[in-house]
């Protein structure tokens, strides 16, 4: 079995490791990959190359634009029919595979358990698929009578000239329900990230603001970038309900299209997964004057911090008292579990390479267990997710990014909807040092000499394991058994290995117990057969009588 390393005196400089990793690459690739690796120094501003193309042939974790659009952002909303226009595979693979839980009431629509596709055949590729798409929309309407239909383009669609947007307009006119299209062909961007942006644009243009609602409760907010994987959003819904904050809409875990339609009537947006949803937060602010703050509910401390920040925003004595009461009560419960588990996990090493926010958020939970994150990186994030939003003005806009429409948002001319009160409030709070639109990124919070790697490849993964011999590796399903075959447990941070929830206080407890299971078990120690360590026996079956 692997021998563990002791880094109690600080992490070693990973520069030799970087050199070793890239020595295997042809020189052009080596040069490019090197820019995506940084020996972290939280005290200085360092640039990490991110959101650039993966080199063909490199085994990457990344998926495609369609996955980011349909799979991540739109998939969790239960009552939109997500019709995938393309050959069958794309719809098949995105069918129920992301664990977005949802709880429809009796009689309410729920299409999450269904996969809808135009299943394009070669004649559709040759002669165009618009006629089939229209017919499929009519059939979906006849069978299910949905409130809305979203059309998702897969790779061939744009190339053969099918226009999902004009089809959507025509069919909306014909059927009288909300129908909207997404040009989210897999190749549109360098990763899922382009799909997030396309989804944000589409939802903002076609859904947000369609419905108003009287603002009745005192504190109203949206939770953005929370997809209810393994019930994460349920945990947060319960938390806010107890505290007395009304969650108007979640983008998009356990959501309905209606809640998104009036999501512009809140006082505050809080953003969990910055990468996948920051665009909507920004656009809502530009159009309606609603401010946003970054939230993190992964880890008990992070949850308490976020709750207090929300409390500070609403600035209400009763609310603040309630928040403190809940924090005190729940933190005590977390503490009991942490005290029991931490002695067993303290000093252990973790690595995480996943998504666009979790590789950062989950470091909190490991910190609470006394563990060190020796290396981390995102699969499809941008520089701001590493270095903080302050670098946004300096990010080079390359051809791949230019591909994706950046909507120009006009301030609403409806005085009822434009929130001057919030604009004033924001200014006053900022005066006092309260930070809005404030994502600081992963790197400032990571230890000195931890190794940051963007879009980690298979080769790099093997090298990292060899060098650090971590106690636990966090990534996705494609990496799961590769890493485990090396004798190191892997925790999936997309699907949670079918566990969770891991948000808020209850989630932290779940995660701690899961780490206890994974890190304390002896199953890994039984891997070597006992006879391997015995001297070889050369014997004979004959009995000497």
């Amino acid at each position: 079995m692997v021998k563990k390393k002791d880094y109690s005196a600080g992490l070693p400089d990973p520069t030799p490791l970087i050199e070793d990793i890239i020595s295997k690459y042809p020189s052009k690739i080596a040069k490019k990959r090197k820019k995506g690796m940084v020996a972290n120094d939280p005290e200085v501003d360092q640039e990490v190359q991110a959101n650039v193309r993966t080199i063909p042939g490199i085994i990457t974790q990344r998926g495609c634009t369609y996955a980011g659009c349909k799979g991540v952002v739109l998939g969790p909303t239960r009552d939109i029919i997500n019709l995938v226009h393309g050959p069958i595979g794309c719809s098949f693979y995105a069918w129920l595979t992301r664990r977005n839980q949802t709880r429809p009431a009796e009689g309410e629509d729920n299409f999450i358990t269904y996969s809808f596709s135009t299943d394009m055949q070669d004649e559709n590729i040759v002669f165009g698929g618009e006629v089939k798409l229209k017919e499929a929309i009519r059939e979906a309407h006849a069978l299910f009578n949905p409130k809305a239909i979203g059309i998702f383009s897969t790779c061939p669609v744009g190339l053969i000239g099918d226009d999902v947007h004009s089809v959507s307009r025509d069919m909306q006119a014909e059927l009288g329900i909300n129908i909207f299209g997404f040009s989210c062909e897999g190749y549109r961007g360098v990763s899922q990230s382009a799909g997030h942006h396309i989804a944000n644009n589409g939802v903002f243009k076609n859904v947000v603001g369609l419905n108003d609602r009287p603002r009745e409760s005192k504190f109203q907010m949206n939770l953005l970038g929370e997809y209810n994987i393994g019930g994460d959003a349920f945990e947060l819904e319960a938390l806010f309900e107890e505290i007395g904050i009304e969650l108007i809409s979640t983008f998009s875990g356990n959501s309905t299209i209606k809640s998104m339609e009036y999501s512009h009537t809140v006082d505050l947006n809080i953003v969990m997964c910055h990468r996948s949803i920051n665009y909507i937060a920004e656009m809502m602010e530009e159009k309606y004057g609603i401010p946003w703050i970054k939230a993190n509910f992964i880890g008990a401390d992070a949850t308490a911090k976020t709750l207090r920040k929300v409390g500070e925003f609403f600035d209400d004595a009763d609310l603040t008292a309630k928040i403190e009461e809940v924090i005190a009560r729940e933190s005590a419960k977390v503490q009991v579990v942490m005290d029991a588990i931490k002695p067993k996990t303290e000093g252990k090493l973790a690595m995480m390479f996943v998504g666009g926010s979790r590789a950062h958020h989950y470091q909190e939970l490991f910190k609470e267990l006394g563990m060190t994150t020796v290396s981390a990186g995102y699969e499809f994030a941008h520089r701001d997710d590493y270095e903080g939003r302050k670098v946004i003005p300096n990010i080079k806009i390359d051809a791949d990014t230019r591909n994706i429409e950046d909507l120009t948002i006009e301030k609403t001319d409806n005085p009822e909807l434009w929130r001057d009160d919030l604009v004033t409030k924001k200014a006053a709070l900022e005066e006092k040092g309260y930070a809005f639109s404030d994502y600081e990124g992963m790197m400032p919070e990571m230890a000195k000499n931890s190794l940051v790697i963007d879009d980690v490849s298979h080769h790099e993964t093997e090298k990292l394991i060899e060098f650090y011999k971590p106690d636990i590796f966090c990534a996705g399903i494609k990496e799961k058994y590769v890493v485990q075959k090396s004798g190191i447990p892997l925790k999936q941070l997309h699907s949670y290995d079918y566990g969770g929830p891991y948000t808020a206080f209850g989630g932290a407890i779940n995660f701690f117990k899961e780490m206890e299971r994974m890190l304390v078990t002896d199953v890994w120690k039984m891997v070597d057969s006992p006879w391997k360590s015995e001297p070889e026996i050369v014997g004979s079956m004959t009995i000497n009588a």
């Binding site: 690459y25 690739i29 042939g57 990457t60 998926g63 394009m120 190749y187 791949d400 399903i477 058994y481």
Partner: protein, 460 residues
Amino acid sequence: MLLRHTTEKEIDRKALTINPAKTCQPVGAMYAALGIHGCLPHSHGSQGCCSYHRTALTRHYKEPVMAATSSFTEGSSVFGGQANLLQAIGTIFSVYDPEIIAVHSTCLSETIGDDLKQIVAKANADGKVPEGKHVIEAATPSYVGSHVTGYHNMLESIVKYFAIKTDEAKRQINLLAGWVEPSDMRELKRITKMMGIKTVLAPDTSDVLDAPMTGKFEMYPKGGTTIPELVSMGDSMKTVAIGQFGTKGAAVALDNSCKVPFDLLDLPIGVKATDRFIMSLSKAGAVSVPEEIDMERGRLMDMITDMHQYFYGKRVALFGDPDQLIPMVEFLLDLDMVPAYVVSGTPGKAFEKRLKEVLGDKIDQVKYKNGANADMFQLHQWIKQEGVDLLIGNTYGKYISLDEKIPFLRMGFPIVDRVGHSYFPTLGYMGGIRILEKMLDLIMQYQDENSPEEAVELVM
């Protein structure tokens, strides 16, 4: 209800597929290529396809599934993917060092018209393929056929590329396997060994997708058909190809180019299909059937005759791939069960033809459909119209089974919510015993749970 919008009322659908009973070609090509030793599958298209296919296979096998991608972006989609593939080939050989790269296309590269043959030829001409290494390619457009077609096309390409006829005939037979589990591949080798026939099995995913835990990751595991074995297939006496949807092209190719004649059979699932397989092997290898095999068959027959009452008359709905469905339907008929509904998203007239042969005069009892318009939504509607006692298919059947409270036997691809398929075969007589055991467990459990207390049986 999990599928709360499904009602028994059908409309005539021409364009909309709901809950498909198939997936796309490349995943099959990837699986077939993994059954070749030292081979790295490569997906020529955008990253997403490769990521989805690796994910689907990983979830099914709970094993590493390595594959690379050409990582298309907008530019490659407009100007063609040649540059991407050439670069990928260079990168893969220098970083991941496989013996073989098996390139398959995707809908994207097919739509833009990339010519894989020409690009691979250029890679060879440009010296991007090191001495002694190989790049093979297969066209796998997903708007044609299904995942089974992709498996078929890749297997055909592999055989075409490697098999060579020399002057030296070999006393061996080729065994071409349709899309079956690593456990089944292992079982096939056990059977031919028992019969004393030297066999080249292709592909062979045993010891690749059921690899042991050793504490060491092997990018190219021990298993897989080797290059010398593949080369030697051209000199074999005969090819036995099981599962025509997966193997026909490869069998025909060996016949055409190397003059190795073939038998094209159903997958050996159940009694009769296994009987045909064993007899074909015995003829091809010119050996008599050994006693042990007779004993295995006897044990299966014993189980059938002992437990017949639990099978008799039970109505079954099946969905999945033609190569499994056809012998499964035959097996069910032999058990006096009723294969009431049979659905496959995989197109092909051969399915109906073979099904009709197998069904004979029982055809009126059966509703079946295959091809682009056949899906699980319709199967579910049929079940709502008239119920069944057992559902057989991949993991997605769970949702129908839970809603309709039907016992559910997992068979096919993908199975992502249970394990066992990679370890315990369903082929051969022993595989037949396993199918029966699983089926009986379900049927008897259902009876236990649904009997009035006084009628719960201790002995069954």
